[in-house]
Amino acid sequence: MHPSITSLLLIALSTSTIITMSSYHWMFAWAGLEINMLSMLPLISKEHHPRAVEATMKYFMTQAAASAMLIFASTINAWQTAQWDISLLTPSTPMMMLTLAITMKLGLAPFHFWLPEVSLGTTNSVMLIITTWQKLAPLAIIILLHNSLNHHLLTSLGLLSMVVGGWGGMNQLQIRKIMAYSSIAHMGWVVMILPKAPDLSLLYLMLYIMLNLTMFLIIISTALTKLTSLFSTQNKSFPMMILMALTLLSMGGLPPMTGFLPKWLILQELIYQHQTQMATLASLSTLLSLFFYLRLVFNAFLTTPPNTSNVTKNWRNQTNHHILLPQMMILSLMLLIITPLVISLF
């Protein structure tokens, strides 16, 4: 792809998210989502091999159907209440449909099937965009609307996608697919806490984007694709593998690392609001995710060189480190110490 076309598409991608976030009128929000989808398509099919084209097709179908459903729900809402502003909505029947459309865009549980497949067809950097930047526009809408959406629906979809994300990633061998399922599970956390404490869901989203960015920067710089390629990656850079293991544990939410912070606050908030069953379910379903993170960790650096491995050694020893990686690594490992600041902010 020519660099000028890439930059045009990236500009369209970023401006469309900003259009969606800053719009009061449904039509503009929808237009932003549509431009977002359109400019994402050539990036996904950049390599033009059959898998990439298929991933593009699947992305296009789900996103186009979801945005059509979104504008349909808002049209019915306008017919009923004569109101086009996003912020002035009242809870009603079409809001349920709108919730489903937005969860389809986000890749939450009953509509999550496109995300792992698209993740397998694209490159690592495009998958990074899909799992971070593309979540922002639908989440902006859903956060603007969180008072008028159906709370039970949001909570149950969130819980379901936490369980499904954990369960689906259990038996996967492709790293991008594992990251896609981990994205489903984390989005489940974001959406589950949204009706109760939107600040916490924003915090979770922020920290998830940070952790995901770190993880994908490691994946991009070591060119990881499969679980078996992890065996030979420690020859490239052993410290980076250790740090990747720590980042994965942080994503799983283990205490001295950053990933513990949002989960801790969310569980505390749930218990304050006497939702102990939900807190139990949430923390139990994190164990499922933790299992496949731990399997990555095991393959990354617990199979040390004296053991024989059945995998051919990777002959391309050079890694291209990203300049952002050290900072992101520090942020994604050591941010738990800002917990008092976060508590005082919210």
């Binding site: 045009l8 598409l9 033009h48």
Partner: protein
């Protein structure tokens, strides 16, 4: 006029049903053409004739020509019309689903009775609302104009970029 609109609406649903019941693409295009024509009539009945002209021109003039080309690309050896078994089964299943969904939908939505009058914009000699509304696009609705132009530009590059990869991964050149 109410009955005409109601008839047009029924024909519209029927046209979309013909598209949705999964026949061969030739017949699907026929159903969509019928739906767009009937939709134009529907809009005339509702009162905005200018938009009905725009709709009909865009759908039959622009899109369906392109669709005909693509349908020729994706041609079937044995095309299935609505008479063939799978499509007929689809039609019946969709009709029954429609009755089911529609009853729930109407229960959820229409609190009022069925059949009320439609609203008409002013006469021919007045400034009509739909003319004026489209003209507003070029005046103080310029943000909409800018966004639409930007979308068209982006879509041009998207289409060019998507159909470009002739050199890689092609099984046959179309």
């Amino acid at each position: 006029m109410t009955y005409a609109i109601f008839l047009f609406g029924l024909c519209f649903v029927f046209g979309l049903l013909l598209v949705a019941s999964n026949p061969s693409p030739y017949y699907g295009v026929l159903g969509l053409l019928m739906a767009s024509a009937v939709g134009g009539g529907f809009l005339v009945g509702v009162g905005s004739s200018f938009l009905s002209v725009i709709l009909f021109l865009i759908y039959s003039g622009g899109m369906l020509v392109v669709f005909a080309y693509s349908v020729a690309l994706a041609a079937d050896f044995y095309p299935e019309a609505w008479g063939s078994r799978s499509v007929a089964v689809n039609l019946v299943v969709f009709l029954s689903l429609l009755v089911f969904v529609g009853s729930g939908f109407s229960w959820g939505l229409s609190k009022k009775g069925v059949g009320e009058e439609t609203v008409d914009f002013g006469g021919i000699s007045l400034i009509r609302g739909d003319f004026g509304g489209v003209a507003i696009l070029y005046d103080f609705g310029c943000s909409v104009l800018v966004v639409s132009g930007w979308v068209l530009l982006v879509a041009l590059f998207v289409v060019l970029e998507l159909t470009r990869g002739q050199s890689r991964g092609s099984l046959r050149a179309v």
